[in-house]
C-alpha cells in the first residue's frame, strides 16, 4: 500500500490553546475586580475603563496600520493591557489620562519594541509609571465623593491601624481595580485552575515580601501590619496579573522563583524604606528589567556541558 509521508518542520504537536484564549481568560479573571471597581467607585470609573481599553486597542490598530504590519488586535492582548492599566488608575482621573496611558502603553512600551512577545516591560505598568511621573498630582489623588483621606497603605505606614476586614472586601480608597483583595484572588484562582498562571511567581513574591516585612519593618510579628500590607495597595493585582505576564517573566522555573523573590525584596524596600507608601509597580518594572540577567543565571546547562575541566 502506498503511503504519502507528510514532511513538515517542527513543532508537530500543538496544543489547542491560542494567545487570544489566554487573553480572554485573563480578561474574564479580571472581571470580578473590574465589576467591583465600577460598583464601588461609580460610573466615572466605568467610563475611564472603557476609554482606556478603547485607546489601547485603537493605538495598536493605528500603529500597525501606519507601519504596514499585520493587525494583531484580534489576539485581545491590547484589551488586557488597557484593562490592566485602567484598573491601575485612580477613580477620579480625567478621561484623557486613560487615552494618553493606553497610547503610551501600546505604542511606546509594546509596539516600538516589536509588538506582543517582544516588549521588555509590562506595557500597562510602563504606562502607569509614565503617568505617575508626568501627572503626579492626578495619579496620587484617591479622593472620591465617598472617600476622603489617605489610602490604607499610607495610613499603615503612618502608624495607624486600618480596618483589615474592609481592606479584604475592598471598601477602601485606591486605584479602580486594586481595592478588593477578595475579587482579585477569586480571579487569580480561576486563572490558576485553568492553568494560565501558576503560583511560582505570586507565591514566592508574597512569601518573600512577608519575610522582608517581618525582618525589616521594625514591627516584628505584627498581624495587622502584615495583613494590611498584603491586602492594601496593588500587591494582589501586581503579583497575580502583572508579574505573571508571559512576555516579561523569566522562562525557567528557577528563574521564576528568583524573579518572585526579587519582586518581594524590592516591594518591601520601597514600602518600608521608600518615601511613598506603594512600590509594587516600580518593583515589577525593575524586576522586568532584571529578567535577562535572571535568565542568564538560571538557564539550564545541556547534559555534558559545564562542570570542571580536567
Amino acid at each position: 500500500m502506498e503511503t504519502k509521508a507528510k514532511v513538515s518542520s517542527n513543532p508537530h504537536v500543538r496544543a489547542r490553546v491560542t494567545t487570544s484564549m489566554i487573553m480572554l481568560a485573563v480578561i474574564l479573571a479580571l472581571m470580578p475586580a473590574t465589576v467591583y471597581g465600577v460598583y464601588h467607585f461609580g460610573m466615572h470609573a466605568l467610563m475611564l475603563i472603557l476609554v482606556t481599553v478603547a485607546s489601547a486597542v485603537a493605538s495598536e490598530f493605528l500603529f500597525e496600520l501606519i507601519c504596514h504590519k499585520k493587525s494583531t488586535i484580534g489576539d485581545c492582548s491590547a484589551i488586557v493591557t488597557g484593562l490592566l492599566l485602567a484598573l491601575n488608575l485612580p477613580p477620579s482621573a480625567p478621561w484623557w489620562i486613560g487615552v494618553i496611558g493606553g497610547a503610551f502603553a501600546i505604542i511606546v512600551v509594546k509596539q516600538l519594541f516589536g509588538g506582543l512577545g517582544q516588549n521588555f516591560m509590562n506595557p500597562a505598568l510602563g504606562a502607569r509609571c509614565f503617568l505617575v511621573l508626568s501627572f503626579t498630582r492626578i495619579m496620587t489623588d484617591f479622593h472620591t465623593d465617598t472617600f476622603t483621606g489617605a489610602t490604607p497603605l499610607a495610613a499603615l505606614k503612618a502608624g495607624e491601624s486600618p480596618d483589615i476586614y474592609q481592606m479584604v472586601m475592598g471598601n477602601i480608597p485606591g486605584c479602580i481595580g486594586e481595592t478588593s483583595m477578595i475579587a482579585l484572588v477569586a480571579g487569580a484562582c480561576f486563572l490558576i485552575m485553568l492553568g494560565v498562571i501558576d503560583l511560582r511567581i505570586p507565591g514566592s513574591y508574597i512569601a518573600s515580601l512577608v519575610i522582608f516585612l517581618l525582618l525589616f519593618s521594625g514591627r516584628g510579628f505584627d498581624y495587622e501590619y502584615i495583613a494590611g500590607n498584603l491586602a492594601g495597595g496593588g500587591l494582589m493585582l501586581g503579583a497575580f496579573f502583572m508579574a505573571t505576564d508571559y512576555v516579561t517573566r523569566p522562562i525557567t522555573k528557577k528563574g521564576q522563583y528568583l524573579f518572585g523573590i526579587l519582586l518581594g525584596l524590592l516591594t518591601g524596600i520601597f514600602r518600608v524604606f521608600g518615601s511613598g507608601a506603594e512600590g509594587v509597580s516600580y518593583a515589577i518594572i525593575l524586576g522586568n528589567l532584571c529578567v535577562p540577567l535572571i535568565e542568564k543565571i538560571s538557564w539550564p546547562k545541556p547534559f555534558g556541558r559545564g562542570g570542571e575541566r580536567t
Binding site: V108, F130, L133, S134, F135, T136, I138
Partner: protein, 281 residues
C-alpha cells in the same frame, strides 16, 4: 528641522566650489554636519541641560564661544604643538577658555550659571570641541577654523534650543519662560525630567534614521549620518572598546563585514611591517 537641512544638502554640495570657505564652514556646522542631529555628538549636555529652551540656548552659546576661540588658538599653534602630545595640549587650551567662560557666567549671568551647574566645567570634555580641534583646527588656517568652530557651535546651539523648546512646551507649558499653553493644559512633567530627554532624542534619532533610509534609497551619500554612538564613517575611525565583538548590532547592514575587512587590512599592514622589520634585522 533636520529634515530641511537634509533636503538642502545636495544643493550645497553642488555650490560648494563657488561658496567662500567662511560661509561653507558655517553652513557645514549648522546643517550639513550638524553635531547633534547629523553626527550625534555631544549627547551628555544635549540630554542633561535641555530642560528649557533658555538652558539649551545658554549651554549652546557658551559652547560656541569656547569652540570658536579654542579652534582659533589651536589653529594658530598647530605647527608648534608636537603631534604626540597634541591631545593634552588641546585640552589645556580648551580648559582655559572654559574656565574663562565659567567665571564670566558666574559673574554676569548667575541664574544661568546655577541652572547649568556642573555641565559648564564639563564642556572641557565635550567631544564636539575636541573633535573639531582634532579634525579641523589642527590642520587648517586660522580664519576657516574660527568659522568652523562658530558654525559647529551655532548648529549645536540650534539643536539644543530646539530640544529644550520641545521639552519646555510639553513639560511645563512655557516657551523661553513665558506661558504659551492655555490654562487648562496639564504639563506632562516627565518631559522636563531625565526620561523626557531620552524620549525627545529617540524621536529625533528616529526621524534621522528615516531621512537616512530615504536618502539611501535615492542614492545619496548618507554615510555621515550616525545613529547612536556608532558613526557611519566605519569602524576604522572609531575605537570603542569591544565594538568589534558586537557584530549582531549591524550584521544586517553589512557593517560587520566591512569591519571584518578593515581589521583584515590592518592585520595585513601590521604583518607587512613585521616582515619589513624582520628584513631590516
Amino acid at each position: 528641522m533636520s529634515e530641511e537641512t537634509m533636503t538642502k544638502t545636495p544643493e550645497t554640495v553642488g555650490e560648494k566650489k563657488e561658496m567662500p570657505v567662511v560661509l561653507e564652514r558655517l553652513w557645514n556646522g549648522l546643517a550639513k554636519e550638524n553635531p547633534t542631529f547629523v553626527l550625534t555628538l555631544g549627547m551628555c549636555p544635549t540630554l542633561a541641560v535641555t530642560t528649557s529652551a533658555i538652558n539649551g540656548l545658554g549651554m549652546g552659546l557658551t559652547t560656541t564661544v569656547v569652540l570658536a576661540l579654542s579652534n582659533v588658538f589651536i589653529s594658530m599653534l598647530r605647527k608648534v604643538i608636537p603631534d604626540k602630545v597634541r591631545i593634552p595640549a588641546f585640552i589645556v587650551i580648551i580648559a582655559s577658555f572654559v574656565t574663562v567662560m565659567e567665571l564670566l557666567l558666574e559673574g554676569y549671568l548667575p541664574s544661568l550659571y546655577d541652572s547649568l551647574g556642573i555641565y559648564i566645567p564639563l564642556i572641557v570634555v565635550n567631544c564636539i570641541i575636541l573633535g573639531r580641534a582634532e579634525a579641523y583646527a589642527s590642520k587648517n588656517p586660522v580664519i576657516p577654523s574660527f568659522f568652523d568652530g562658530l558654525g559647529m557651535g551655532l548648529g549645536f546651539t540650534f539643536a539644543l534650543t530646539c530640544i529644550g523648546l520641545v521639552r519646555e512646551i510639553l513639560g511645563s507649558g512655557k516657551a523661553f519662560g513665558y506661558m504659551i499653553m492655555p490654562e487648562s493644559f496639564v504639563p506632562v512633567s516627565i518631559f522636563v525630567m531625565a526620561p523626557g530627554a531620552f524620549f525627545v532624542l529617540a524621536l529625533l534619532t528616529a526621524v534621522q534614521n528615516q531621512i537616512k533610509i530615504k536618502g539611501e534609497a535615492k542614492g545619496k551619500d548618507m554615510s555621515k549620518i550616525g545613529s547612536g554612538s556608532c558613526m557611519g564613517s566605519g569602524c576604522a575611525s572609531c575605537r570603542i572598546e569591544g565594538c568589534e565583538s558586537r557584530k549582531f548590532y549591524d550584521a544586517k547592514a553589512g557593517g560587520s563585514t566591512q569591519a571584518a575587512a578593515e581589521t583584515k587590512t590592518v592585520a595585513t599592514v601590521t604583518k607587512k611591517k613585521q616582515q619589513e622589520g624582520g628584513d631590516e634585522a
